[in-house]
């Protein structure tokens, strides 16, 4: 099979489809993997292939159509050779993702309404969230992720990508390389999480390897998991004689200097090479290599770094930044699988759920349901089923599912956990499977996380070889099989009943509960579903005891929580803190406040199900109850900091755009209600809102919340309700014709102030729509009728002479 993607309709190849049917299967439940294979080969789903598929399998034409149109991974029209996915997650949205998308669209010269350029080279899409929130705006082209993209940078990125295409030799930077080396005294640790790679750590790694080889240094390069300090990436850690030193925001050119700063070549020849190199470099560069090293060095004692770390408490992400994700021996050497052994050898099966119950661990996926109670319920239903003389079947009696369908835009905790702590999650799942008697454990991971999928598949493989997974695990009578299911792009599948439907090969439409999955879940069997982070906490609790876990956090919400801190924050990243930490502590102490000296306005927590908590409520402790009390929700733990330049009505509109698209479309209130709410918000943002609209919006929000079947619909109005509650004056300002943050396009104009004295023409050159006439040496002007408010000129102006004026004011002049 060729890797070349087709941009034509005629590549219908029945033999290839037959081969897929033989490998993947012909059952109705195999429809999603089959469609994924077709999509992978053709870049879209050609009609003749789908017809052939329905004629040669148990999948009905209705199901092929129903399922392939439900999941956003699938497309039905030909796509370009390369896919540009502009992330429009929350963090990217507040940093101008829509403008970036428009810019790509313009650069490619796509026709109005089309998403592919005329040559069929690129297709540009908006995607829900790539989980690289600290690099906002993130843009993915095929398997390369670009971070910190601006509207002005689109052209350069396309050029860079095409350049790489020419030089690339098949392999990609992030390819996993299981280099084992346990001598930890001298090593260079490079984090290779998806977002680190996107910010350039793979390039840094390549240079490090080159440097080490060139001077034959006694150092290992080691891949480690996420370091959490996403705001400082690319980041490497050098361990020299056991002592650690971090270097942050490095460029590939900095790497040799950093390495040579710690390790001197041993042989005379290598020293000579080194001397020549550094001398030559100091001639060429304005600053010599060694000072570069000290410039980039960050110390654990540095106030900023210390602030980032000292309030954190690591349970789920224990040993973070120090372990090679797939090095199972290293995991074992740090106490890995001890908790599992304890369960298998020392504890009574019935005690495990009790310990969990004692610990007070609550599900980390959003709603905070006590994990112990869930486990007990599954166990209870499983034993009931066992006692009834049921038919003998090959299917297990109890299933376990790890929910890694992290769909919340603005959250990437699960991705990081899966990429950096695969064994930790697997151990948690093994303990759970043992406790509830599950025969099959399933990882459900969203397809937008290819690296996480790769790591988990590799980790399962290794565990099978080492008898942590499979039959008679570690000499016990306990057996469990692990499988990985790839999500196909549907936020609603984070809801457990929808997730189960998706595994069964159906549209991911949530079901009315009860029955809960604990009673009747996957294939009608009792099923335990927990989130990745929940499972990651389990081994720690078993190893350290329920009491110790309870001593952390708050009485109602014990333990810690992993958060993705993103948005307008100075020091964004992945953090794990005790529950009960205040918003203020997170934003100011850990996050170092708002970047660029702007004023902290609100924190968005919990994504589309959560809400916006205003700066004035910064002393609110973060736990399940308090957040719910404030109208927000823990969600999976995405924290997006918003500053004074963010429009709260726009934020509400942003989330409603998301939910009305992600709703499964079943319930009238969710399907139509969210659309109508969005219609009202668009009207308000467009400057046409009325006081009556606000009332209707509020009433609709309450109605959708109270009459929807699943969590998505019940929580979808939260972003609207919280912004209406805490920022009503902004809605009212919009109604009287002004967007106070100057964000809503229809309510602002761009104008050039008298600061523009030189007439430097930069704005005129960068303007993508020729709205600024080329007038050298005299003050520029903007043609408002042509201006698309893309903000490129304002960002480019060296004199800060371009300002945003409320339309109302501009009209009055």
């Amino acid at each position: 099979m060729s890797n070349d993607k087709q941009y034509s309709d005629d590549a219908f190849d029945p033999a290839w489809i037959d081969a897929q049917l033989d490998t993947i299967g012909r059952g109705a439940d195999k429809v999603i993997p089959l469609l994924q294979a077709i999509q992978k080969r053709y870049n879209y789903l050609p009609r003749p292939v789908l017809v052939y598929l329905s004629e040669n399998s148990d999948i009905t034409p209705a199901d092929v159509v129903g399922i392939s149109t439900f999941y956003s991974q699938f497309r039905h029209t030909p796509a370009g050779r390369h896919c540009i996915n502009v992330c429009v997650g929350t963090a990217c949205h507040v940093k101008g993702a829509d403008l970036v998308y428009d810019s790509f669209h313009r650069h490619l010269g796509c026709a109005e309404g089309a998403d592919t350029d005329s040559r069929g080279l690129f297709t540009v899409n908006k995607v829900a969230c790539l989980g690289c929130c600290s690099l906002a705006v993130a843009v993915q082209i095929d398997d390369i992720i670009y971070g910190h993209v601006t509207a002005a940078g689109a052209g350069d990125i396309i050029k860079d990508f095409l350049g790489r295409q020419k030089t690339r030799e098949g392999g990609k930077g992030a390819a996993y390389d299981d280099n084992k080396n346990l001598s930890a005294a001298n090593e260079i640790r490079v984090s290779l999480g998806s977002c680190c790679v996107a910010s350039g750590s793979a390039g840094a790694e390549a240079i490090a390897r080159e440097t080490i080889a060139r001077y034959n240094l006694p150092v290992n390069v080691k891949h480690v998991g996420c370091v959490g300090m996403c705001h400082r990436t690319p980041l490497i850690e050098v361990i020299a004689n056991g002592a650690s030193q971090y270097y942050a925001n490095i460029k590939p050119d900095d790497v040799p200097g950093i390495i040579l700063n710690h390790f001197r070549p041993t042989s005379l020849v290598n020293r000579a090479i080194c001397w020549v190199d550094t001398a030559a470099e100091s001639l060429l560069l304005s600053e010599p290599a060694l000072p570069a090293a000290s410039r980039l060095r960050i110390d654990r004692d540095d106030k900023a770094v210390d602030g980032f770390f000292n309030k954190q408490k690591h349970i789920a992400i224990e040993h973070y930044g120090a372990m090679t994700p797939l090095d199972i021996d290293e995991y074992i050497s740090k106490g890995g699988f001890e908790a599992l052994k304890k369960c298998l050898r020392e504890l009574n099966v019935n005690d495990i759920a009790d310990i969990l119950d004692d610990s007070g661990l609550r599900g980390r996926g959003g709603a905070g349901f006590p994990a112990g109670i869930k486990w007990e319920a599954v166990k209870g239903h499983a034993s009931m089923k066992e006692s009834s003389p049921s038919e003998k079947s090959a299917l297990p009696d109890v299933y376990l599912i790890c929910n890694g369908d992290e769909g919340d835009p603005g959250a990437y905790m699960d991705r990081m956990l899966l990429e950096s702590f695969p064994y930790r999650i697997i151990e948690g799942m093994l303990i759970a499977a043992y406790a509830v008697g599950a025969g099959e454990a399933i990882f459900y991971i969203r397809a937008e996380y290819p690296y996480a999928l790769k790591i988990i598949r590799a980790a399962i493989d290794i565990c099978e070889k080492r008898n942590f997974i499979g039959g008679d695990i570690l000499g016990s009578k306990f057996s469990v099989k692990f499988t990985v299911v790839e999500g196909a792009g549907a936020f609603v599948c984070g809801e457990e009943t929808a997730l189960i439907k998706s595994i069964e090969g159906k549209r991911g439409m949530p079901a009315l509960k009860p029955p809960f999955p604990a009673a009747s879940g996957l294939r009608g069997k009792p099923t335990l579903i927990n989130n990745c982070e929940t499972f990651a906490c389990v081994p720690w609790i078993i190893a350290n005891g329920a009491e110790k876990f309870k001593s952390i956090g708050t009485p109602e919400s014990p333990g810690t929580k992993v958060f993705a801190l993103t948005g307008k924050i100075a020091r964004g990243g992945l953090i794990e803190t005790p529950m009960g930490i205040t918003v203020k502590e997170i934003v100011e102490h850990i996050g170092g406040g708002i970047a660029n000296g702007k004023k902290f306005k609100a924190i968005q927590i919990g994504g589309p199900s959560g809400g916006c908590i205003p700066a004035e409520m910064g002393s609110i402790p973060i736990d399940f109850e308090r957040l719910a009390g404030a109208g927000a929700m823990m969600g999976s733990g995405g924290l997006v900091a918003l500053d004074e330049s963010d429009c709260m009505v726009d934020i509400a509109r942003y989330f409603l755009t998301f939910t009305q698209d992600q709703s499964c479309g079943r319930c009238t209130f969710c399907r139509v209600g969210t659309k109508k709410m969005l219609g009202i918000l668009e009207k308000i943002c467009g400057g046409n809102g009325t006081a009556e609209d606000l009332q209707t919006l509020e009433e609709l929000a309450a109605a959708v919340k109270s009459a929807s079947l699943c969590g998505l619909g019940k929580t979808a109005p939260n972003p609207v309700l919280t912004t209406l509650k805490y920022f009503r004056s902004e809605y009212e300002a919009h109604i009287s014709g002004e967007c106070p943050a100057g964000k809503c396009k229809e309510m602002i104009t761009y104008s050039i102030t008298d600061k523009c004295t030189t007439g430097c023409t930069i704005c005129s050159q960068v303007c993508p729509v020729d709205a600024i006439p080329f007038t050298p040496y005299s003050r520029h002007s903007i043609d408002d009728a042509l201006c698309t408010r893309c903000d490129v000129c304002r960002a480019a102006c060296p004199e800060d002479a371009i300002e945003i004026v409320p339309r109302k004011k501009a009209d009055a002049v």
Binding site: A62, T69, T659, V672, K676, G679, E682, A707, L709, K714
Partner: protein, 514 residues
């Protein structure tokens, strides 16, 4: 068996029964739209919501299992409000019209599309006969009106956009003429006498109309006219050239001879006491009436026409006479006044949408090969028509039949009326695109009227039909589709009848076999 309390009433139900099952078995009514006994509850429409004790949110009765000790509320204000909102949300997406705009505009509510459909069915004589019945049902003196009606109906005709309005008045005129000469005129009316007497004061268009409709229902009607002649403004306002007197006289004669209406001329009624012996009184005495004389507080007195407020057109007066007759009938038969009828209407259709209507007219007489006659909008002199049958056939075939095929059985319309829903409550944002597709099997599919309850999808799945219907898309874009461009009727296979029967709105319906 379990016990629960529904609206304060103790109800027993089987284990595993839903709240809906339990309520139904106890004779407690809960409305449903997407529910169907043949399939698992789709749980989509949320019209069946109830409140369960201890829960904040509303639960769908169709899928929520009844539990022992549960208390259920099916009719409190908040439940009713929630149902109304569900309907209003569905209506906010809806496209099409319950009644065609022409019917809605006609003061008499003449079902014009139905007349056109009947003209398109079967052979010419039978078609005309059948169309006549509708005219007779809806219009009190059709031949007279054919001369004087200003045809407001034509102003609303959707065919006017990009073409010209269907000549409704011309067709009406031809049928009216046939009525005058048809044997039907005398003997095709069966009336069951009700042995109740109604006095009608005034013999103008309002009074004649009220008498006509009441007499059709079997009431003994007596018209009292102050003037020495019958007809009021019909005679005083229109010259003989405009309205030939033989036409008017013939229609009045029909009322007297066939419907048994009694007329007294030169009879001035100046107080209620004079007509107190009657079971009901209709005051249709025109401008000169002082309404104070006939207190409308008296439940048996009904006023209409210019007696209430000056009316310019005779057809409007006739329309009011018709409603007064309806009110009097309700009063006399002891029925509560029926719910105000609900009308949904998408005011403006795009050119594309109108085209979709024009390309999918459900009832077209396949025998008709006559090319469409050019039509001019002005009133047409019925005498100049040459080939009446052919012309009428082609002209009636121009009707878009833009009323709803399910106007009498649409649950959305029924519940909208029942719960007092406002169709434009949630106006912000877009509505569905209007489209209509008519298939050879007689199936009509109008996706803009679909509430996406997926009942039809589940019914085809239940019967294992290939290809079957599918839900396509996600979120607010979800719609029902037939896979791989299969015709809709083919995709439903043997489940077609069930799907059509089950469809709660006008999204799926069948034309009668021609």
């Amino acid at each position: 068996m379990i016990q629960l309390i529904i609206d304060g009433k103790t109800v027993t139900a089987n284990n595993g029964a839903t709240i809906l099952d339990a309520a139904r078995s106890a004779g407690i009514y809960i409305p449903t739209m997407c529910h169907d006994d043949k399939i698992e509850p789709p749980v989509s429409c949320f019209i069946c919501v109830v409140k369960v004790g201890g829960r904040d949110n509303f639960l769908p009765a169709c899928a929520t299992k009844a539990q022992n000790g549960m208390t259920v509320d099916t009719c409190s204000k908040e439940v009713v409000d929630c149902r109304r909102r569900a309907i209003e949300l569905m209506l906010s997406e809806h496209t099409g019209s319950c009644e065609a705009p022409c019917t809605k505009i006609c003061p008499l509510g003449l079902d014009i599309p139905e007349v056109m459909r009947r003209l398109q069915s079967g052979n010419a004589a039978a078609a005309l006969d059948s169309a006549m019945q509708i005219i007779r049902r809806d219009m009190p003196f059709p031949a007279t009106l054919a001369y004087i009606c200003p045809a407001p109906c034509q102003k609303g005709c959707r065919k006017a956009a990009g073409d010209s309005a269907v000549s409704i008045k011309r067709i009406h005129g031809i049928i009216a003429e046939k009525i005058m000469s048809a044997p039907f005129y005398d003997n095709k009316i069966n009336i069951t006498p009700k042995h109740k007497n109604v006095a009608i004061i005034g013999s103008g268009p309002a009074g004649l109309s009220a008498a006509y409709f009441l007499a059709l229902k079997g009431y003994s009607c007596t018209i009292m006219e102050k003037q020495p002649f019958i007809g009021g403004t019909l005679r005083s306002q229109f010259s003989e050239l405009v309205l030939p007197r033989d036409i008017l006289d013939a229609e009045i004669g029909f009322m007297a001879a066939t419907l048994g209406v009694r007329f007294f001329v030169g009879t001035n009624v100046s107080s209620i006491d004079e007509v107190n012996a009657y079971d009901a009184v209709i005051v249709a005495s025109g401008l000169q009436t002082c309404l104070d004389t006939f207190s409308t507080d008296n439940p048996k007195i009904f006023a209409c026409g210019s007696a209430v407020k000056p009316v310019q057109q005779a057809v409007r007066s006739a329309g009011q006479g018709k409603s007064a007759a309806d009110s009097a009938h309700n009063y006399l038969s002891g029925k509560a006044a029926p719910l105000k009828q609900f009308f949904f209407n998408t005011a403006r259709l795009s050119a594309e949408e109108t085209e979709s209507l024009a390309g999918s007219i459900p009832y077209i007489n396949k025998l008709s090969t006559t090319p469409l006659a050019p039509n001019n909008e002005e009133d047409i002199d019925t005498d100049t028509l040459m080939d009446i049958d052919a012309d009428m056939d082609s002209e009636s075939s121009r009707c878009l039949q833009c009323d709803c095929g399910r106007k009498d059985s649409c649950l959305l319309r029924t519940y909208a009326a029942h719960y007092g829903a406002r169709p434009s409550r949630y106006a912000a944002g877009s509505r569905n695109q209007y489209a209509r597709e008519t298939y050879g099997s007689g199936l009509v599919h109008e996706p803009g009227k679909c509430i996406v309850c997926a009942k039809c999808v589940n019914l085809t799945k239940e019967k294992n039909i290939k290809p079957g219907l599918a839900l396509s898309g996600r979120g607010s874009d979800v719609h029902i589709t037939a896979p791989f461009d299969t015709p809709f009727d083919k995709a439903m296979g043997t489940a077609l009848t069930d799907c059509v029967k089950g469809c709660p709105t006008g999204a799926l319906w069948l034309t009668e076999k021609q």
